[in-house]
C-alpha cells in the first residue's frame, strides 16, 4: 500500500480489528442483530454502509467549516438521509427482492450510531481525504463483523450459504442431514446474533489483552 502514508493506513486498518466499531466500540449492534440471519443481506448491508459512510464523511468534512455547530446534527441527518435514499432507490431498481428482504433496515441506516458517530468524531475535524479513509475503514470493520456473523448464522441456522445448500437438503435428507443432523433454529433468531457477536468479542479480547477494559 504505497499509496497511503502510515497514518492514513491506520485509518483504514484500525477499525478492522483493534478499534472495530461493533466489537470494541459496541456501536451499530441493532442492525447487526436484525439482518445477519443470512449472508447475502449482510453483504448488501455492509456495502450500503460503506457507501453511505464513505461519501457522507467526505460531504460533512467539506462542509465542516460552514456548518453552524448548533444545527450540526440536523445537517448530518440530512446528509445521511439523502445518501440512504439513494441506496434504497438503487436497491429497489436493481435488486428488488433483496430490498424487500432488508425492508426497513436500509432506511434505518440513518439511525446507525456508527455513521453519526464518525461524522461527529472525525469528519467535523478532519480533511476530506482522511475522512473518506476513516469512513470506509469503519464501514469495513462493521461489514467484516456482519459477514462473519451472517456466515455462521446462515450455515448453522439454515444449512445454506448464499442460498446454496452446502450441508445437503434438509427436506430430502441428503448430505449431513442423512445422518441425523438438523438445523439450529436458535441461530435464525436475533438473540443468537448477540451471542455470536459476544463470542467474537471474547475471542478478540483474549487474543489481545490490551483491549480488556479496566474496572
Amino acid at each position: 500500500m504505497g499509496l497511503l502514508s502510515k497514518k492514513d493506513r491506520k485509518l483504514i486498518l484500525d477499525p478492522l480489528a483493534d478499534d472495530n466499531p461493533i466489537t470494541i466500540q459496541v456501536l451499530g449492534i441493532c442492525s447487526a442483530l436484525a439482518i445477519t440471519a443470512q449472508l447475502k443481506p449482510s453483504i448488501v448491508m455492509a456495502v450500503s454502509v460503506i457507501f453511505v459512510l464513505g461519501v457522507g464523511n467526505v460531504v460533512i468534512s467539506l462542509m465542516r467549516n460552514i456548518i453552524p455547530s448548533k444545527i450540526r446534527i440536523i445537517v448530518q441527518l440530512i446528509v445521511v438521509a439523502t445518501l440512504v435514499i439513494i441506496v434504497d432507490q438503487v436497491l429497489k431498481a436493481f435488486a428488488y427482492s433483496l430490498s424487500k428482504e432488508l425492508s426497513v433496515f436500509i432506511g434505518l441506516i440513518i439511525t446507525n450510531c456508527i455513521i453519526m458517530g464518525r461524522f461527529e468524531a472525525f469528519a467535523l475535524g478532519n480533511g476530506p481525504w482522511r475522512s473518506f479513509l476513516d469512513g470506509v475503514g469503519n464501514a469495513l470493520g462493521y461489514g467484516v463483523i456482519l459477514i462473519i456473523v451472517g456466515f455462521f448464522r446462515e450455515l448453522l441456522g439454515s444449512g445454506t450459504l448464499f442460498g446454496f445448500k452446502v450441508l445437503g437438503d434438509s427436506v430430502e435428507k441428503t448430505g449431513l442431514y442423512a445422518i441425523g443432523y438438523e438445523n439450529n433454529g436458535f441461530m435464525v433468531l436475533p438473540p443468537m446474533a448477540l451471542i455470536v457477536v459476544g463470542i467474537i468479542i471474547w475471542v478478540q479480547r483474549s487474543r489481545n489483552k490490551a483491549l480488556i477494559e479496566e474496572h
Partner: protein
C-alpha cells in the same frame, strides 16, 4: 499405597502445572482435602458446597428412578402391550422390570452425556483459566437429563450442554457467578434450537418419533396434558395419575408426589428455600384462581382458545407440566435466586404467577415455568437491590426520629 495416598502424591507432583486443577478436582471429589485455610476466621461446618450439591442430588434421585420406570411404562402403554396402572402408586403395571429396562436404555445415556460433556467443559476451563474445578456442575448435570424429552438425540444434548455451560456459566466467571440457571439455559437452548424435538405430541414417549417417521399406520401420539388442554381437548388423564407421575412428559418432572417429597427433604435439610417454594406455589394458585374467576364470570366463551386452560381448576396447575419440578429444584437455586428473605417471597411469587400466565396465554410455550424462572433470574438482583435499599431507608428514618 492406597488410592488416596496416590492422589496426594500426584497432587504434590503436579502442583503449579497447568493440569493441576484437573487432578485436584478428582482428589477433592473423592476425599476430604488434606489442607486447611491459612488466614481469616475459621468456622467448622460439615456442609460445604459439595455437601449441598449432594443433598440436592439425593432429592433428585427418586425422580430419576421414577422417570426411568415411566419412560418404559409410557412406551409399553402406547404400544398396547400393558394395561394402565390401576391400583394406586405401587401398581405392578408400573413398577416392573420391562419398564425399567427401556428406561435404563434411554435415560442412562442422557445422564452420561450430561455429566461427561459438562464436566469435560468445566475441567477444560479450569485448566485454561488456572483455577480449581468448582462443584457447580454436579447438580446441573443431574437436572439436565430430567428436564428433556426422552427421545432427544444425544448430539443435540451435547451441543446444548456445551452451550449452557460456556455461555450460561463460564463467561460470567464460573460457579456462583452465573446470572441464569445453567440447566434451564440448556433446556431453553434446546427448546429454541430444535423445537420439533422439544415440543408437540411426538417427543414425550419413547418410539413416537421413529414410528411417525416410518409412517406406520398406528403411529402413536403421546400428547402431554398441557398440549391436550391447549387444543381445547380433555386432559385425558386421571388426577391421581398426574400426582403419581404416570403421565407423559420430560423424563423426571412428571411425579408431583416425589417432587413434593424431594422438596420437603430440601426444606428439612435447609438446602432449599421454603420461602421461594411456598410463595411460588401461592403465585401459581393466585393466577389459577384469577383465570377460574374469569371463566366463572363468563367473560370468555367456550369457543375461546384459552377456555380449556383457563377453566382448569386452579390447583391442577401444580400437577401439570414442569411447574412443581421447576419450583422445587430450579427456582431455589441459591446462585440465581434472590438473596434477601423479602426478595425471595417476591421472586417466588412472580415465578408461580408468570408460569401459569405464560402457560395459559401462549400455548406455543407450554413450559411457562422454564421461561418464568429464566425471566426472574434476570430480575433477582433488581429485587434484592430494592429490598436492601428499602431496608436502609426505613432504618435511616428510624435513626432520624431518634436523633431529632
Amino acid at each position: 499405597m492406597g488410592l488416596k495416598q496416590k492422589l496426594h502424591t500426584l497432587k504434590e507432583k503436579y502442583k503449579g502445572t497447568k493440569m493441576a486443577p484437573a487432578f485436584n478436582a478428582l482428589h477433592t471429589f473423592l476425599y476430604l482435602p488434606n489442607e486447611t485455610t491459612h488466614s481469616g476466621s475459621h468456622i467448622r461446618v460439615a456442609d460445604d458446597l459439595k455437601r449441598t450439591m449432594n443433598t440436592v442430588i439425593m432429592a433428585l434421585l427418586p425422580c430419576l428412578i421414577l422417570g426411568m420406570f415411566n419412560a418404559g411404562y409410557q412406551h409399553h402403554l402406547q404400544l398396547g402391550e400393558i394395561e394402565a396402572a390401576a391400583n394406586g402408586f405401587f401398581s405392578t403395571n408400573f413398577w416392573n422390570w420391562d419398564n425399567l429396562v427401556v428406561g435404563l436404555w434411554k435415560v442412562l445415556p442422557l445422564v452420561l452425556i450430561s455429566y461427561g460433556v459438562g464436566l469435560a467443559v468445566e475441567f477444560l476451563f479450569a485448566v485454561i483459566k488456572g483455577h480449581e474445578v468448582e462443584e457447580g456442575y454436579l447438580v446441573t448435570g443431574m437436572l439436565v437429563p430430567l428436564i428433556v424429552p426422552i427421545d432427544i438425540p444425544l448430539w443435540m444434548l451435547t451441543i446444548a450442554v456445551i452451550f449452557g455451560v460456556v455461555i450460561g456459566k463460564e463467561v460470567f466467571g464460573g460457579t456462583g457467578m452465573n446470572i441464569l440457571n445453567p440447566a434451564l439455559t440448556i433446556r431453553a437452548f434446546l427448546f429454541f434450537a430444535y423445537p420439533t424435538w422439544m415440543s408437540g405430541d411426538k417427543v414425550w414417549v419413547h418410539g413416537d418419533v421413529a414410528a411417525t417417521a416410518a409412517g406406520s399406520p398406528d403411529a402413536i401420539s403421546g400428547e402431554t396434558i398441557l398440549g391436550n388442554l391447549a387444543q381445547n381437548k380433555d386432559a385425558g388423564f386421571e388426577i391421581m395419575d398426574m400426582f403419581y407421575g404416570f403421565i407423559p412428559g420430560s423424563v423426571g418432572e412428571t411425579s408431583t408426589l416425589l417432587i413434593l417429597l424431594g422438596g420437603l427433604f430440601l426444606i428439612f435439610t435447609k438446602i432449599g428455600s421454603w420461602r421461594i417454594m411456598t410463595s411460588a406455589v401461592a403465585g401459581a394458585l393466585v393466577m389459577g384462581l384469577i383465570f377460574n374467576g374469569v371463566v366463572s364470570q363468563e367473560w370468555i366463551s367456550e369457543s375461546s382458545k384459552f377456555f380449556s386452560l383457563m377453566s382448569t381448576e386452579f390447583w391442577h396447575h401444580l400437577l401439570l407440566g414442569g411447574l412443581a419440578f421447576g419450583i422445587v429444584f430450579m427456582a431455589t437455586d441459591p446462585v440465581t435466586a434472590s438473596q434477601t428473605n423479602k426478595g425471595k417471597w417476591i421472586y417466588g411469587f412472580l415465578i408461580g404467577f408468570i408460569s401459569v400466565m405464560i402457560r395459559v396465554f401462549n400455548p406455543a410455550y407450554p413450559e411457562g415455568v422454564m421461561l418464568a424462572i429464566l425471566l426472574m433470574n434476570v430480575f433477582a438482583p433488581t429485587i434484592d437491590h430494592y429490598v436492601v435499599n428499602g431496608n436502609i431507608k426505613r432504618r435511616m428514618k428510624r435513626l432520624k426520629v431518634k436523633t431529632a
